[in-house]
């Protein structure tokens, strides 16, 4: 006996299990970052003074990074659409781009972090930097997690396309949802830290 609705939707909810699962997971992620954003607002409102992000952080770099993530979100959704159109080659290409862009993001982030450390700006310097490093750091961990999963489906996991294509498409959709969420978080992190 197999667990029902792993591939096909359950008629009354219109969902397959994995999709519901990932949305529930994302709901908890909303609350996780919600807790951190709440901490940010709390600290900032309570602070006597709060630095202007753009004085300390590198806005052009972050803008570049925003572009990277936005683009990677498009390539991600395109790779899913390619699968839907039965174009496995395009799928691999788009997924490859996604990973590349994600690495691009990490590289930029690496330079940003090290530049801060070189100027002796550490998490312990002030609460602005503290919460900046914590939240972007946690976001970076999400990016790394995403890269690992995407890589899995790009290389070792893609055999499922042959054995169980419907399920494979579902999985790509799920990874996509996660990846878009990571992008979405960044869309808020970017103005909150760099621009305000």
């Amino acid at each position: 006996m197999d667990i029902p609705f792993t591939v096909k939707e359950r008629p009354d909810t219109g969902l397959y299990n994995g999709k519901l699962g990932i949305w529930l997971f994302l709901a908890s992620e909303v609350m996780l970052f919600g807790g951190l954003f709440s901490a940010y607002v709390f600290l900032r409102t309570g602070a006597e003074s709060w630095p202007v992000g753009s004085d300390i952080l590198n806005v052009p770099m972050a803008t570049l990074n925003t572009m990277f993530l936005i683009t990677s979100s498009v390539t991600m959704v395109m790779s899913w659409a390619s699968l839907k159109l039965n174009d496995f080659g395009k799928f691999k290409m788009y997924l490859g781009f996604t990973i590349l862009l994600a690495f691009g993001f990490l590289v930029v982030k690496y330079f940003e972090y090290t530049a801060k450390f070189e100027h002796h700006l550490y998490p312990s310097t002030n609460n602005f930097l503290g919460i900046y490093f914590t939240m972007t750091g946690l976001h970076v961990l999400h990016v790394v997690g995403g890269i690992i999963v995407i890589f899995y489906f790009l290389v070792p996991g893609n055999k499922m396309w042959q054995s169980d294509p419907d399920r494979f498409v579902n999985r790509i959709e799920i990874v996509g949802l996660y990846w878009h969420f990571v992008d979405l978080v960044w869309i808020f992190l970017f103005p909150v830290f760099y621009l305000l």
Partner: protein
């Protein structure tokens, strides 16, 4: 076994098992052991409280120092008792074990929606729990800032606190995975005919509990990360500037707020207390419906009350923070929500009392524990009311009254319900019955001694004795009149401990006894009993996946030939 189509090795069958029943048992056994451990910690503490100047017998040798329990060790034991009981004991037992094992059976599912995730979540819990207690072996001992870990105390505490935080991160992750699984299972895997208003209450409460865990735990994860940063990276999220600890000015950047932690912590921890009680309600409802041989009175009102309770539990948290200097408007808000949230509990209890009217009550062990739950939870819940009124809380906050309040809900409350569940479902899990005589002894002595421990706490609280006092209040003049109660409570606690021997012996001899061969010994209507054998088949649960035709508690239906009509019986 009809559905066991592939051979499994010992490892995949019992260790890395993806069968929800095995995982449920893993959760259950681990959690029971932790409960016992947490209780032992408390028995040691109770010795210190009763006889502050004397060395601890038996385990004293482990403590060094002539067997005396130093204050920092006392604080460690207290923090760990709270943490272990809640996060390693009751939640894994109530949600992990009972939820995993019986929820899929009750909705006619062949497993959880994500079996591998399920196994992962158990192992996360296991690792987290081991990490948690390794705290005892690091320099300075385990976390000693209370289970609430209020900074700045926890920020400047010894390494044990870091270990505690790491353990928490594992436990939180485990709970998140578990709750995703339960939610997806209930939404997706209900069998044909099992619509929402036919779900057993037990499933409903697990469902709402899962929602609470899913949405309330992440903020604590965030807070734990922030506190880890404070401790390891030198940030000061929870510390203002200008602190002087033992004469040394701290050099942190400052600008943080200790209240931030309290908000994030209680944002979890208040819903968490409903995580402790809701599964207990569910078990009690199942047992009472079964042993009154009549439908639960007000099924719908219970369901709505549970949903409402779950929703409200997110907006009452700051009633733990009245004394932090809250302004009038916010304190009024939180008092009001707290009063509102007490109503659904009253509704649930009322429905259960009303269910007894016209019943044909069978007094077996599970029923006794379930009935014992009602007044005990009643006392616990009622003592929550003065705490929820900020003005009364001025006096009662952080006294033993609070300790008494919540132990009445968690110990003779939830723990009794869990015992009821164990006695009730033991035949399902093993195909054997537990001994009734031992069970009844277990119940009556537990009832007496539980009250012996927790009732005097109310008196101490009214006298104003603070909690977390190493000497049990000897220092303070206002405690003088109620100091003798410490000994009463401690002796009750040890006798309560002895009483558990009835339970453990009962477990052992019942496990060794012969199978009874009955599949539905209690004459129950829900799918877990009526659609599958006891113990249930291996992977796959059912010979034929059942179809549901009616609500969960159709007992003594007029005109039916027997006094119960299972959900899956086609008339």
């Amino acid at each position: 076994m009809s559905t066991d189509y592939h051979k499994e090795s010992f490892f995949t069958k019992y260790i890395w098992s993806t069968d929800h029943k095995i995982i449920g048992l893993q959760y259950g056994i681990t959690a029971l052991l932790w409960l016992l451990f947490g209780f032992i910690l408390m028995m040691i503490m109770r010795y210190q409280l009763a006889y502050p100047e004397s060395p601890i017998p038996i385990v004293g040798a482990l403590l060094g120092d002539g067997g005396l329990l130093p204050p920092e060790m006392y604080n460690s034991l207290g923090a760990m008792h709270g943490t272990i009981m809640i996060f390693l004991g009751v939640v894994p037992l109530a949600f992990g074990a009972f939820g995993n094992y019986f929820l899929p059976l009750q909705i006619g599912a062949i497993d959880m929606a994500f079996p591998k995730l399920n196994a992962t979540s158990y192992w996360m819990y296991f690792v987290g729990s081991v990490v948690m207690v390794t705290g005892f072996f690091v320099p300075g001992g385990a976390a000693n800032s209370g289970w609430t870990s209020y900074p700045p105390l926890s920020n400047i505490a010894t390494t044990g606190q870091t270990v505690w935080l790491c353990g928490m991160v594992f436990l939180i992750t485990s709970s998140l995975l578990g709750s995703i699984n339960i939610l997806a299972t209930v939404i997706q895997l209900r069998t044909e005919g099992m619509n929402w208003m036919r779900l057993p209450i037990f499933v409903w409460v697990q469902f709402i509990t899962a929602f609470l865990l899913l949405l309330a735990f992440p903020p604590l994860e965030a807070a734990s990360v922030l506190q880890l940063m404070d401790r390891l990276a030198g940030t000061s999220f929870f510390m203002p500037s200008g602190l002087v600890v033992s004469g040394v000015a701290l050099s942190n950047a400052g600008g943080g707020s200790p209240l931030l932690w309290q908000h994030l912590f209680w944002f979890l921890a208040h819903p968490e207390v409903y995580v402790l009680i809701l599964p207990a309600f569910g078990i009690v409802v199942e047992v009472i419906a079964n042993n009154t041989r009549k439908p639960i009175w007000g099924y719908k009102s219970i369901v709505y009350a549970v949903v409402f309770l779950g929703f409200m539990s997110f907006i009452v948290w700051a009633h733990h923070m009245f004394i932090t200097g809250m302004g009038t408007s916010m304190s009024s808000f939180f008092q009001t929500t707290t009063m509102i949230i007490s109503i659904p509990s009253v509704v649930i209890l009322t429905a259960l009392f009303m269910s007894l009217w016209g019943a044909s009550i069978r007094y077996n062990t599970p029923m006794l524990f379930a009935l014992g739950f009602l007044p005990m939870f009643g006392i616990g819940g009622l003592t929550g009311l003065p705490l929820g009124l900020a003005a009364a809380d001025i006096y009662l906050h952080d006294t033993y009254y609070v300790i008494g309040h919540f132990h009445y809900v968690v110990a003779p409350g939830t723990i009794f319900a869990l015992f009821a569940g164990i006695y009730y479902w033991f035949p399902k899990m093993t195909g054997k019955r537990m001994n009734e005589t031992l069970g009844k002894l277990h119940f009556f002595f537990s009832l007496i001694f539980m009250n012996g421990v927790f009732l005097p706490m109310m008196a101490q609280g009214l006298a104003g004795v603070s909690r977390r006092l190493w000497d049990g209040g000897e220092m303070y003049a206002h405690a003088a009149g109620v100091l003798y109660l410490n000994e009463v409570m401690s002796i009750s606690a040890w006798l309560l401990g002895m009483t558990q021997i009835f339970f453990i012996v009962n477990m052992i001899i019942s496990l060794m006894s012969k199978k009874t061969g009955e599949s539905n010994p209690w004459g129950a209507t829900t799918l877990d009993w009526s659609a599958t054998t006891s113990p249930p088949l291996g992977h796959g649960n059912f010979e034929v996946v059942p179809t549901v035709y009616r609500g969960p508690y159709e007992y003594s239906v007029p005109g039916a030939d027997k006094d119960f009509t299972p959900q899956n019986e086609k008339v």
